[in-house]
Structure formats: structure tokens, C-alpha cells
């Protein structure tokens, strides 16, 4: 059988995803600072939102980011063994499982969500995760929720006008 050319996936080469990264104050945020100090280069797509602990990132934050137009969301915490709040990183992992389920229910591929553990000494890891996650989301293309959310918002706006 010859496959029609039309079914090949559209290329997302020029697509620049927007990615929100929730970083904890003690490990991943300083790791991102460390990446700067070492001049490690990674794609510009990531916007960091600082939180005290990864365990504070509610499913609501992540879903809100997607609703507003994020193509991917990263939650970066301390490693389990040296979490500043001892159990915060584990809590983050528990909450992340719930978030993944909720995201899946509304049609967000789970590859668009990422939880990772980056200590304050792991600047290289931060740059690597930022790069790899950006490329992963770039491959996935724009978030399916983005269009729906934008349409809805536009409709609401039109309605108001």
C-alpha cells in the first residue's frame, strides 16, 4: 500500500515552544543560576517561575500554564535524598502523578509534562534537561489545548464586546 503523502506529520522545525519551568528555590533554581555562571548554553524557550519547593506546585499551576498557552511544563526539584525540606521532592513526585492524570484527561500528552531532580551543583544537568525537554516539546508541536483555550478566550472576549 502506498501511503498518501498528506498523512506525513507536519514539520515543527520552525516552531518555538513556550515552556514554563517551576524551579525550587534551593536546588534547581540555583542550578539554573549556575548554568549562567558557567555560560552553559541552552534554548531560550524556558521561562522559570521560582517556588520555594517543588512540592508546592499544585496541579492547578501546571494546568493553568497549559490553559494560558504553554507547550510544555517542567517541574524541577531537589533530589529525594537532599531535598531542603526533606520530603518536599517526594511530595512533588506524588502530586506530579495526579497532575499527569488530569492533563491526560483533557488531552495533553504526558510527554509535555516533566518532573526532574536537579541539585544546586548540577548546572550541567539543568542545561541538559532544558535542552532535551525543549527539543522533545518542539517535536510534539504546539499544545493541543492551546488552540482550544485561545478560541474559548476569544469567544469570551467577543461575547463581552
Amino acid at each position: 500500500m502506498v501511503r498518501s503523502k498528506k498523512t506525513t506529520k507536519p514539520s515543527h522545525k520552525n516552531f518555538e515552544p513556550k515552556i514554563v519551568a517551576f524551579c525550587c528555590n534551593w536546588c534547581s533554581y540555583p542550578a539554573a543560576d549556575g548554568a549562567g555562571v558557567s555560560r552553559l548554553q541552552y534554548p531560550t524557550n524556558i521561562r522559570i517561575v521560582r517556588v520555594m519547593c517543588g512540592g508546592r506546585v499544585t496541579p492547578g499551576f501546571v494546568l493553568k500554564a497549559f490553559e494560558l498557552g504553554a507547550d510544555g511544563v517542567l517541574v524541577a526539584t531537589c533530589h529525594f535524598e537532599d531535598c531542603h525540606y526533606m520530603f518536599g521532592a517526594r511530595r512533588a513526585a506524588d502530586v506530579h502523578k495526579i497532575t499527569e492524570k488530569l492533563a491526560e484527561m483533557i488531552g495533553i500528552e504526558k510527554e509535555r509534562l516533566k518532573l526532574d531532580w536537579i541539585s544546586s551543583a548540577e548546572a550541567t544537568k539543568f542545561a541538559k534537561v532544558a535542552t532535551e525537554f525543549t527539543e522533545m516539546v518542539r517535536k510534539l508541536g504546539p499544545s493541543p489545548i492551546k488552540k482550544v483555550a485561545t478560541n474559548n478566550r476569544n469567544k469570551i472576549r467577543e461575547g463581552i464586546e
Binding site: V20, A32, V49, M52, C53, G55
Partner: protein
């Protein structure tokens, strides 16, 4: 005076933008603009916060009456604090009590301990022996400690807690013929035999280093005391005319005076043989020969022996998990207590008011333990020399209108900062103890009604950042 510090935010456009996107200036500029927008949106939602003050209890409790705990206690007594040492055994002293002599001074361990105990007691310090910690509650400046002392309960208040519970020596089990051959003993047993003058009819002694250290079973790291202790013991044996060989995986002598001690041992004729793999010990009824693959030669080396000494590593004490849970002090990957920061907070823990020194943090010799003990004493003194302690204001806060008292927040809070109280008859709400709250905000992620929020990282503040980014 001036601007409230909690009305301030940094748009991190240097480390997290210009420095990491040096080859994409246009994109970096766009990103920087967005970061600034996000920051401005956040600042608009911020509210001023104020430090709170709480009173401080000036007493100190030290867990563990080894050489580290005793030294720390004396330092604190000298500064005028009331100090209690909790010791689980029936006497203070720890490992050092049983050492035949201690390098670099070569004084008997017991003599040193007796002196310290005398000074501690003379200065009105109290050593509570045969005591078991039952519970500890409270927070910096106001801890409540509950003990079981020989069956009866005892309770008191302290402002700071020092952990000096030491480590435990690695148990070789049945390895190296230990337990099977009476003449295979650990270095601690050797110390006791030397003390008791109980080394007779021995012509050849072989030490096996790194038993339970450095990737062997037990401690993944170097136990840091054993090379030097073995050299000290070897010198003593050699001076009695005994042949001594130290099978090692690299000799580490780093503490003050230790290099001199090492050279002296070599001059006296102590043999140092690097080995690889597991030594094989053979004999009938007793160990007669030890065979090891040499690290340097393509050969095995066999040595006839009368006594084999296993230089065992230090591993975390059995009850360190329990203590870690009681004090909420985390343990590292090696399961020793973890300091707040290896360089910038080496004797502090993540729990304010709880400090660490000696071998409960990592294996070390007396010199290093004492430095830490004195460092802790200054830290404690700095903390408790104030009448009041200021608390950082980033804590959780409950909106009682939305709270239905389900208790999910209290369940996830590992710092026990949240309690469910009966506000009015039949109406339960969560209450945050601001002195205990560390401000992580994991409770917020657990709350099903949105009643609890984290000050300075409020949901509205973070939402504003996201809206600014995509708006």
C-alpha cells in the same frame, strides 16, 4: 525602615537569560522582556511581610556523651549556658574511652575522657546516663525533650539541640574468618587487648585495611581514621618486636602529625603492602596464613600470621533513622546525618536550632571531631545569646472561611507545623505554627479547597506571573 524586603523581586535576566543564550541575542532579548513582565506582574501582587519574634530558652541538650559531646558541652558551659548530655550507655566516653592510646598525643583514651568528664561536671554540666530519647517537639528556642531514664520519665525545655551520637563500627560478620578464627579480631578489639596488656605469643600481625569502607560493604566512603589508627597500633606492636604488615588500598594519612607517625612506622620496619580483592585466610582452628593478590606485583603474597586485625570502617548508628525522624534531620545518601550545606553550613542542619558534630555526621578522627564540637558551641552560643529569635515570615496561612478541617495539610507537613483545632463547637480548622513552618508550601498542593496558601508565593502571585507570560 525603607522598602519592605518582601515587596521586591528579581527578574533573573543575567544568569538565566543573557549568560545562557549568548549566541541568540534577539531571542534572549524577547525572553528578557517576558521575564521582566512576569516579575512586574508578581510584584504587583506582593504584600509586605514582617519578621516575628519569639522568646528563647537558654538551655542546651547534647545527644551523646562521646568525646565530641563532652567537648561541645564544656565549651558551652564556659560560655555560661546550662548543658545536659544525654548518654544511652551507663557512662560517658564513647569509643575513645576504650582506646589504648590516641594519636597524636599517645595518651590513653580513658585518661582523656576522665579529664573531660571531670571538667564537664566541675562546671555543673549534667550527664544523664542510661537515657533514651522518647520524643522531641517544639522548635528553635523552644524544644521539649522527653526522656526515659531507667524506666522513669523526664522532661525539660531547651533552646538548642546538639547531635553528637557518633557512629557504629562495621560488623565484618563471617567475612575474613571473623568469628570462626579466634585470632581474627577488629581494631577496636585490638585496642582493648593492648589496654589489657593481652598480646602474648604473637610474632606476626597483619592488618587488613578498608574493611567496610571505600566501596567495600558498609561505608561507601573513606572512614578517615583507620589508616592512622592502624599505624599507631602498628608502632606499638613493632616496638614490642612483633612483625607487622599493613595490607592497604592506599595509605591515607592526612591529619596533623600523621605523616611523621607514618614515617616512623616505616623506619621501625612496618611493612605496607597494597592489595586488591578479598584476602584469603587459611588455617586449622586458627588463622595461620593470609594470602592476597598484590596490587603491584603480578603475584599472590602469603604471610604467616599469629593475629589478624580488621580495620573496620564507621557506619551510621543503628538508631540513626529513628533519631533522624524524631529530630526531622535528613540523612545523606551514606545514611549519616546531613549538614545544611557541606561548605556554608557544615555543622548546622536544615532544622533551625539542631546542630551536628563528630562521627554522626561522617567518620572522622578526634581532631576533626573536636573542631566541629567547638564550632557547634559557637553556633549555639550565637543563637542563644539573644533574648528573642526572629522568624522568617514566609509561612503558610489558612483562610478559615474556606477551610473545612479535613487535615490533608497536616498529614503532608513533615515539620508538624499544622494542627487541626476545634475553633468553635463542631467547627474544625487548620492552624499553622509559624515557628515550625519552614515555608515549603507542600500543604498548599494538598489542600482540596484552596484554603491554605504560602505567603510570598501565593497562588494569585504565581498565576499573575503566568498570565503576564502568555497575556
Amino acid at each position: 525602615m525603607g522598602l519592605n524586603p518582601y515587596l521586591f523581586d528579581i527578574a533573573n535576566i543575567r544568569n538565566q537569560c543573557s549568560w545562557v543564550h549568548q549566541k541568540e541575542p534577539e531571542k534572549a532579548t524577547e525572553k528578557a522582556k517576558e521575564l521582566v513582565k512576569m516579575s512586574v506582574a508578581r510584584v504587583r501582587e506582593l504584600t509586605p511581610l514582617f519578621m516575628k519574634e519569639i522568646p528563647v530558652n537558654r538551655d542546651v541538650v547534647i545527644m551523646g556523651g562521646g568525646i565530641t559531646g563532652l567537648r561541645c558541652g564544656i565549651d558551652l558551659l564556659m560560655r555560661g549556658f546550662k548543658v545536659r548530655i544525654i548518654e544511652k550507655n551507663d557512662a560517658a566516653g564513647g569509643l575513645v574511652h576504650d582506646l589504648s592510646s590516641i594519636y597524636p598525643s599517645f595518651r590513653p583514651g580513658k585518661e582523656v575522657i576522665d579529664e573531660l568528664v571531670e571538667e564537664f561536671t566541675k562546671r555543673n554540666g549534667e550527664i544523664i546516663t542510661s537515657a533514651e530519647l522518647v520524643d522531641v517537639t517544639g522548635y528553635v528556642g523552644n524544644f521539649e525533650v522527653k526522656l526515659n531514664v531507667k524506666g522513669s520519665e523526664r522532661e525539660f525545655l531547651v533552646g538548642a539541640i546538639v547531635l553528637a551520637t557518633g557512629s557504629q563500627l562495621y560488623n565484618p560478620g563471617e567475612r575474613f574468618g571473623y568469628g570462626r578464627f579466634p585470632n581474627v579480631i577488629t581494631n577496636m578489639e585490638l585496642e582493648k587487648r593492648i589496654r589489657a596488656n593481652d598480646i602474648k605469643d604473637v610474632q606476626s600481625v597483619v592488618f587488613v585495611q578498608c574493611v567496610g569502607s571505600r566501596g567495600d560493604d558498609g561505608n561507601p566512603g573513606c572512614s578517615r581514621y583507620c589508616c592512622q589508627a592502624a599505624i599507631k597500633e602498628a608502632i606499638h606492636l613493632r616496638e614490642q618486636g612483633i612483625d607487622v604488615t599493613i595490607l592497604n588500598r592506599g595509605v591515607r594519612v592526612y591529619s596533623k602529625g600523621a605523616e611523621r607517625m607514618y614515617r616512623k612506622a616505616r623506619e621501625l620496619g612496618v611493612l605496607f603492602l597494597p592489595y586488591e580483592g578479598e584476602p584469603e585466610i587459611t588455617g586449622t582452628g586458627r588463622a595461620e596464613q593470609i594470602t592476597v593478590p598484590s596490587a603491584d606485583l603480578d603475584a599472590e603474597i602469603s604471610i604467616p600470621v599469629d593475629l589478624i586485625i580488621l580495620s573496620v570502617g564507621m557506619v551510621p548508628a543503628e538508631d540513626s533513622l529513628r533519631l533522624s525522624e524524631l529530630f526531622k534531620v535528613p540523612r545523606g545518601p551514606d545514611k549519616f546525618f546531613l549538614e545544611r550545606h557541606s561548605k556554608f553550613g557544615p555543622v548546622e542542619t536544615t532544622v533551625e536550632g539542631v546542630f551536628l558534630c563528630g562521627c554522626c555526621q561522617f567518620p572522622q578522627d578526634i581532631g576533626d571531631s573536636i573542631s566541629q564540637a567547638s564550632a557547634v558551641a559557637s553556633k549555639v552560643a550565637a543563637l542563644l545569646s539573644r533574648d528573642k529569635i526572629t522568624l522568617a515570615p514566609i509561612t503558610s496561612a489558612v483562610d478559615e472561611v474556606y477551610c473545612r478541617g479535613c487535615g490533608r495539610c497536616a498529614e503532608v507537613c513533615e515539620f508538624h507545623a499544622i494542627e487541626i483545632i476545634e475553633k468553635e463547637k463542631g467547627i474544625y480548622v487548620a492552624q499553622v505554627n509559624e515557628a515550625l513552618c519552614k515555608g515549603c508550601g507542600t500543604c498548599v498542593a494538598a489542600c482540596p479547597t484552596g484554603a491554605i496558601d504560602l505567603k510570598h508565593f501565593m497562588s494569585e502571585q504565581i498565576k499573575a506571573q503566568l498570565e503576564a507570560l502568555f497575556g
